[in-house]
Structure formats: C-alpha cells, structure tokens
Amino acid sequence: MTRKPFILRNPSVLVVLAALAVFTAAVTLLSQAYGTGAIPTSMVKVLGKTLCLALAAVAMDLVWGYLGILSLGQMAFFALGGYMIGQWLMYARTETIVAASLANNPIPPTAQELQEAVANQIFGVVGSSDLPLVWSFAHSLTAQLVLVVAVPGLLALVFGWLAFRSRVNGVYLSILTQAMTLALALWLFQNDSGFRGNNGLSGLQNIPGLEGVSQASLSVWFLWASAAALAAFYVLAAWLVSGKCGSVIRAIRDDETRVRFLGYPVEGFKLVVFTLAAMITAVAGALYYPQAGIINPAELMPIASIYLAVWVAIGGRGRLYGAMIGAIVVSLLSSWFTGGRAPDLHLPGYVVSWVDWWQVALGLGFVLVTLFAPKGIAGVFDRLAGWRPPARHGRDLGPDQGSLKEQEARA
C-alpha cells in the first residue's frame, strides 16, 4: 500500500506556502527598494516582524495546540534568540566603529586594546568596561548563530526535563513556565548580568558588513528571510504533527496517562517537541530583533508570552495555519489600533479613542472567543470545509463491508 505524498495529505500546507509566496512577492513589488514604493520601508519592517511573530505562534501551537502544554514562557526563547544574534550585531558593529576611530592614533592598536575599547563602548552605559564572559563568542557570527538555537534549546531541555520528570502538568506547569520567564527577565534587568541591564542591546538594524546596503533593501531581505523561515518551519511542524508521531503527540494532549500506559515514552515526546518549539521560537526572535532594532528585558516579561497565547487562541489552537492567522491578524490589528491611526468611535455622549479602549476590546473579545469559539478563526475554515459535499468515488461496497466505497477501500 503506497501512501499519498505528505503534501497531498496536508493540502493546507500547500495553500499556506502559496499564500506566503504571493504575499512576499506582492510586498517586494510594492516596496521602495524593489518596486513601486507603495509600501514604505517602516511598513515592510512591520510586515517582516509580523511574519516572525507568526513563526513564534506556529511553535506555540505545536506546544499548546498539539502537545497540550500551555507554556507561558515562550517569548523568553524568542527574546533569547534575539539577544544571541544581537550580541554579534552589536559587537561587530561597535568593533568597526572603534577600529575606525583607533586607526587615527599614531600607533596601531593591539588586539587587546581593540577589545577593551569595544567593551568600554558597549558597557560604559552600565558603568562597566570589561567584556563579560557571556560575550566570549560575540566576535564570531557562526558561534552566535549556533548559540541562537543552542541556548534556548538547552534552557528548554533542562527546564522541560526537570518539569516533565516530576510530572508537573496543567495549570502548575503554566505557572512554572511563567515563573521561568519572569526570573530570566529580572536577571537580565540587572546591570551586572552582562546584557546591559534595562538598556538592552540597540542599533541592531545596522548589519555589520552591509553598511552600503540601504535600510529599504535590508527590510525586504529580512522579509524574505522571515518568510523563508516561516515556510520551512511550517512544513517541519506540519510534518511533525502528521503521521504517527503526530497522533502520539495529540494523544498526550488528550490523555497523558493512557498514552503512558500504552508504552509510549511520554516524557521523551514532550521534551522533543518542547525543545524543538523553543528553538523555532528562538530563530523567529533572531530574525525579529534585527528588524525591530532594539531588544531589552521588558520583551521577556510574562505578559508578552501570554499575548502569544492569546493570538494562538484567537487564531485557533490545534491548527498550524490558525496560529499563523491569529498572530498576523491580532498583532497587526493591535499595532493599528494602538498606533493612534484608527478613527475614533463616536458614541452618543462619549468618544471612544481606540488607543485607550483597544486593550479592553481585545480582552473582552478574547473572553468571547474562549467562550463561544474555542476553535478560533480556524474554526471558520472547518465550517467551510463542511459545506462542500465529500468527494466520493466508485460504488458502495455493500452493507457488510462498512461505509467505505470501492476505490477508497483499495487505496
């Protein structure tokens, strides 16, 4: 018996990839660098960042929608990824600048002098001039790229191992993940943590070695990279949750104890998916922060992770495209409404300014979605699919042979 190819079994993947390609091409053709210029560079950046958030949402959906772990610390991995790439961006750029200024000295600088000057430049703001140990690899892009996935992956592995082996689950686990991200945020807030305290890392939009490339072009490049990463990881996630592995993962969500009694290593499955999701989120973060330009510990506060959960819930849990749609729609709407560009709503006797009332509407809308549409926006697609009559072929096999028809039974 031959199985249908993966893509045909999951037509939604194809639709998503096609939509993503069309979207990327359209934005490119309307951008300032490569097209008509209808979309300003800042908007291209917003769209690129939104794609990164969508990728984080896909990872969140893996963990929550499929595995059933409501992780309230997912954005910690996102921000860690950003910090790791930010270290290289900041170090390399500062090194270029410092080297240029030291070149004016009569005596060329030694390697150590150069490093000291760079450290002084970066950490002067927190009253330090030594390069902390965690910056040991900051000079190397390769090393930092490895760390982008290694550090969050390791954190997720250790945390997950500790939590899953002691059978912490449900609400407890959610609170614990929240505590983890809070602890990390508080640690990063300290000036002597080695990550510049609440100043965070800044100037990340300037890519070392690409000084000649305009921000207009860079923003499109990052949009491409974000779209490519989203496409690749979407396919990976879809592949992971289809087939037998996916069945086990969903079974763990629905009844962990039964899966364990059936002999599956529940902890192993959980650990793999949790760690993988953390790494995907970290990649998303590493693509996000060069577009945002700045990262600080406030990005790790538990509230950010809860918003991620909100997006996934509104988009629709347990549907990868649902998570994507949720993240894109809600984050774009949020930035539109809170950006002050949304027109005020004139009610008799009161003017609703959306800057003030968007959060209230979002909160209440979220409650309504949880109550009345647990499947979120993705539920709409399920309804649509139900409208089309099922495509069935061949004759009935007869009353004794079950409900399959001729060709279906053969397949």
Binding site: Q112, E113, I306, L364, F366, T370, L371
Partner: protein, 651 residues
C-alpha cells in the same frame, strides 16, 4: 523605677518652663555684666578669634542676662550705640543688653562677628545651656553637643552642675562618655569609657569608635630594625592575600615613592607615539606595533638608546616587595585604647548581627503577611474549583482603587479606611460573582481555558482602570495613627502599617478558619471540594457553593488591595506585581489548604528577605534566585509543602 516618676516631673517642668517663657521676662539689671561690658567694650566691637574666649566665658558667667547677650551677639542682633551702650535689637524693639530696659530712638551700629568668633560664642552658649534652669534648654544643649562635639564641650559637661532630672542625667552621662572616648587626653579614662559602653549598639557609640579604629596602609623597609617608630600596628598584610593583591602592594609602593612606576600599556603607547621617526619607532615599523611583542622590542630599543627612562622591571619589583613590610596602622597612637575599641566594636558587631537578624525576621514576617493576604483569595478559588484566576491581581487593584475613592469621598482618614474595607470587599465580591456567572461557570473542567479567559478579563480591567483613573499613581494615605514606626533601637524598627497588615493577616486566618470549620457554608465548601457529585446528591448546590467561594476569594483580594495600597502606590499595574508571587505562594504551599498557603507565604516571604539581605542593593537578583528556588522546590515537592491527600487529590 525611675521612669514613672521622671516623666510627670519632666512634663511639669516643661509646662512650667512654657508658662514662664511665653511672655519674655524683662532682664533684671545685672551689675556684674555691666562691669564686664564696660571694661571690654572695644574687644566686643572688634573681637578676635584667638583672644575672645576668656571674655565670652566671663560674660557667660554673669547669669541669664549674659547668656541673652551672647545669643544676640552670635545671632548678629547686638548693636553698639555711639555713646557705648550695647543694645539687643529684635523685631519688637530694642533693649539695653546690660539693664534690660527698653530703648527707643537709638540708632546702633550692628556688630557682625566672624564665624570663628561665633563658633566660640556658640560653644560657650551650649556650655551655659547645660546649666540652664529650663530642662528643655538643657535637653536642646545635649542634642546640640551630640550633633557637633568638640573638646571644649567635654570640659563644659564636666564642669556643669549636677543634673537633677534622671532622664537627662542618663543622657548626659552617656554623652560625656562618648566625648571622653573622642577627646580625653588620658588613655586610661578613654579605655574605661569604652569598656563602660561596650556592647552598646547605638549609632553614636559606633560612630565614636570608628575614627579610633581607622587605619592607614603603609609600606616600611624590612631591614634595619623593621619596626616603624611609635606606630600602633593593626595588622601586617601578606602580599597576595584576598584583600591585598600584588597589584595593590605595587601601587602602594609606587605612590610612596619606594618604587619606580611600572610601565602601563597606555604609557608605553604614548611614549612610543612620541618617538616616531620616519614611520619607525626604535627601528620597528609603526604598522607592526599592533603586536604587543613588537611594542616591547621598540621600547627596549628606545631604552638602549637612552631616549626614554627605564621602567621598573619585574625583577626589581620582586626584590622591592621582598624587602618591604606592609602594615595597617591605626591613626590613634595608644594601643590600649585601640585594643579596647576593637573589643568593644566586636561586641557591638555581634549584638548588631543578632539585632539585624531580629529585624530581618520582622521584615520577613511582614512580607509574608502581605503575600498571605494577596494569595489567600487565590488559594480559596484554586483549592476549591481548580481554577486559576488570572484576574486576581486586578481584584487586588480594584480593592486599592476602592480605598482611594472612599478616601476622596470621606475626608477623615480613619473613617474612610473603616468604610473602605467592607466597601472593597463588597465591590470585589460582586465583581467575582459576575465573573463567575458570565465566564467561569461556562468553562468548568477546562482549567487552561479558564486561565486564558480570566487573563482576557485581567487585561480589560487593567486598561479600564487606566482609562478611569489615569496612569499616574494615586495616593492611598494611611491615617495618622498608622504612620511612623515602632522603634526598639537604632537597628530594630518596623513601620506601624506593616504591623497592622500582620494583624489583618492573622485576622483573616482566623476568619477563614471560622468560616470553613464552623459555618454551614464552610461545611458545604469542604463537601464540594472533596466530592462534588456526592455533595450534590446530598442536596448541596455545587454551582452555588462555587459561586460563593469565588466571591469570597475575590472579596478577600479586595481587602488585601486596600492593605497593600496603604504602603504601595496605587496604579493600574498594582495587581501585576503581586500576582506571580501569589501563584508561587499557592503552588509552593500546596493547593486547597489554608495552612499550606500560610506555610508558602512564610517560606517565600522569609526566603526573599534572607536572599535580599545578602545583597541589599540588588533586589532583582534576589527575586531571580527566589523564583529559581521555587522552580527547583517544585521538583521535589510537586504538590507543595502541605499536599492534599486522599481522594480529593485525584480530582
């Protein structure tokens, strides 16, 4: 025994003094003063810092009129008329300094003594004030001496007449000892004074000891005799030890001129840059100087050419260090005094550590009661319904804002607080019931969905509060009787508000136990917690019980909000600051058990304060370690300190 008698007497004395001083008594004629003034008029007009002291003492000795004159003189309100009379000029008018008679129509030239002279006068005034009949003046004089003591004050204290009020006498005796420690010439007297006060933890005593024990670091040659003359050595330093690294030794010797300065990389670079000739330094091309070795070669070449002074080499430094002893020496020369001071300081430090421990315990207790108050409502709902209410923090905030609104309506602080507590309970109770009816009831048995839905409520409520009350912090002022602190001594003190919160927490513990163990509602709650199905078949309505429990938990959050608002700023983010800690308290303590919540709050409160005490400046690190500890703690006791046992645990 002395206190009960002393207090009324002091009060009486103060009262008398008050009555006597309100109408300024006209100074009676004072012939002695007149005589002194007549003799020294020119010196009063042009006083000199060096010679004025005997004159001031003479004037002060003439009695209250003399002191009044001195006060006026120091205060620049003493005037000299052309016919040689001294007038005290006040806002009300002028009076003759010697006779006290009011004077009109005179146009005196005001005397403006310089600050040195004023210092002499004031010091004499203080000495005079110690002997003043008015106890308040005497007390003020003691305060003044304690603030800025000098050797002259010690003399004044010794010569002052016997103090009659026991409270003042005790203060004076203590002050005199402190002055003896600082200024007396006789080492034996100083040692005796130090030993008398040893074990005292007062700030003033410790401040008096500190200059005695101040050390300075010196380097002396080991040879010829090795003993610096007359130095009172505190200790000898070993090079390379923890607090005296080799670099410090080199720096010390360099600064004392015993060693040529080592060549720092920065100096080397500057020197090399100054000797660039045709793109080469000492024969080494400039482009190669990014290598430290090349720099050394270039410098040596310059040295060999005699162009630069030789820098101290490693071997020279080594030899110099070997031939030198490094000592900490006391500024105080007498070793018996420093020994006594050190012993006293050690005793003070031991007692201080013990008291700091007690103070820390009090702090921890108050923090624990805050966490307990914040978490108890959460524990109720989580324990009974297995529902995490993310909006719990916003209920706390709601309670705090209720308190604020009550305070804007009712001016009287105490009354508004009395009104605010039940009002906050009512408001948040109602909010909790509404939340339960509209949201939570429909999400029964879906705890994660409940968590998210209540989170939606939480962000909506937070923004709503921002829209209504604005983003700036609103004050919730405590009534007067709650302000201030209960101070035991310089170390142990706790603000009254925290004591009140502790009492409130105890009250709630009692109330909660009463409701759970002694009322119908409590019985039904316990029944539903243990087995909802069985409870329902016994005629209990689980839905109603859950609703009441949720309302109760929310109401307690409201009262906690008023309590927290009294010492924290009331903002829309108030709840956020406590919500994670509250979760931790519940989870660490164990779900569904009030004693568990109490244990969790005590553990978390105590631990945060202890961690904080290691590094008081860095509260962020303390919080980080705290959370890490909890994460690890959960590994070993996943169900909390006091886990629920039996069938209820499986539910």
């Amino acid at each position: 025994m002395t206190r009960p008698r002393a207090l009324p007497r002091l009060l009486l004395a103060c009262l008398l003094a008050l009555i006597l001083t309100v109408p300024a008594p006209p100074a009676a004629a004072n012939p002695a003063l007149e005589a002194v003034l007549a003799e020294n008029l020119d010196q009063i007009e042009r006083p000199s810092r060096r010679t004025v002291e005997p004159l001031v003492a003479e004037i002060a000795a003439t009695g209250p009129e003399g002191l009044a004159l001195l006060r006026a003189w120091a205060g620049r309100s003493l005037g000299l008329t052309d016919d040689g009379r001294l007038l005290i000029v006040t806002a009300e008018g002028m009076a003759d300094a010697a006779t006290g008679q009011p004077v009109t129509g005179a146009d005196p030239a005001m005397l403006r003594p310089n600050s040195g002279v004023r210092g002499v006068i004031e010091s004499a005034l203080v000495a005079g004030a110690i002997a003043d009949p008015d106890p308040r003046r005497r007390a003020a004089a003691l305060d003044s001496i304690a603030r800025s003591a000098s050797a002259a004050h010690l003399e004044a204290l010794r010569n002052a007449p016997e103090e009659t009020l026991p409270a003042l006498a005790a203060r004076r005796e203590r002050l005199e000892k402190l002055l003896v420690i600082q200024f007396d010439d006789d080492p034996a007297a100083r040692v005796a004074a130090i030993q008398d006060l040893a074990g005292d933890v007062g700030l003033d005593f410790r401040a008096a000891l500190n200059p005695l024990l101040a050390t300075r670091r010196i380097a002396v040659p080991t040879e010829p005799d090795g003993q610096p003359q007359g130095a009172n050595i505190a200790r000898e330093l070993r090079i390379g030890s923890e607090d005296f690294p080799r670099e410090a030794a080199v720096a010390l010797m360099t600064s004392e001129g015993l060693l040529e300065p080592r060549l720092t990389p920065a100096q080397q670079r500057t020197t090399l840059a100054a000797h660039i000739v045709d793109g080469r330094v000492g024969g080494v091309p400039v482009a190669e100087l990014s290598d430290p070795e090349a720099r050394d070669r270039a410098y040596e070449a310059l040295e060999a050419a005699g162009a630069v002074p030789p820098a101290a080499t490693e071997a020279e430094v080594e030899a110099a260090l070997a031939a030198t002893r490094f000592l900490d020496v006391y500024a105080e020369a007498d070793s018996s005094v420093t020994d006594a001071a050190r012993a006293a300081q050690t005793r003070a430090q031991v007692r201080l550590a013990a008291m700091k421990g007690i103070d820390l315990g009090l702090d921890a207790l108050s923090l624990a009661s805050i966490y307990f108050l914040a978490a108890i409502g959460l524990a109720v709902t989580f324990g009974v319904m297995r529902v995490i209410n993310m909006a719990h923090g916003e209920f706390i905030m709601m309670g705090a804002y209720t308190g604020y609104v009550a305070q804007t309506m009712i001016a009287d602080r105490t009354l508004s607080l009395v009104v605010a507590l039940p009002l906050a309970f009512a408001v948040t109770f109602a909010a909790g019931i509404v939340l339960y009816r509209l949201v939570i009831r429909h999400l029964a048995h879906r705890p994660l969905e409940t968590l998210l839905a209540t989170f939606g409520v939480s962000i909506a409520l937070q923004q709503l509060a921002k829209n209504i009350f604005g983003t700036q912090a609103r004050p919730l002022t405590a009534p007067g009787w709650l302000e201030g602190a209960i101070t035991v001594n310089d170390v142990i003190s706790i603000s009254t508000i925290r004591v009140a919160i502790f009492v409130l927490a105890l009250l709630f513990l009692g109330l909660f136990l009463f409701i759970m163990k002694r009322t119908r509602l409590g019985l039904e709650v316990r029944a539903v917690t243990q087995n909802p199905g069985m409870a329902a078949s016994m005629g209990i309505n689980p839905d109603r019980i859950a609703m009441m429990t949720f309302g109760l938990g929310s109401g307690i959050a409201g009262i906690a909000g008023v309590a927290i608002g009294l010492f924290a700023q009331v903002t829309s983010e108030l709840g956020q600051q406590y919500i994670v800690q509250s979760f931790m308290t519940v989870v660490v303590g164990g779900v569904g058990n009030i004693w568990g919540t109490l244990a969790g709050a005590t553990l978390i409160g105590g631990l945060s304060k202890v961690i904080e005490s290691f590094n008081p400046a860095n509260t962020l690190a303390a919080q980080t370690f705290m959370i890490l500890f909890i994460v690890i703690f959960i590994q070993f006791r996943p169900r909390g300190i006091i886990p629920t046992r039996g069938r209820a645990a499986e539910a």
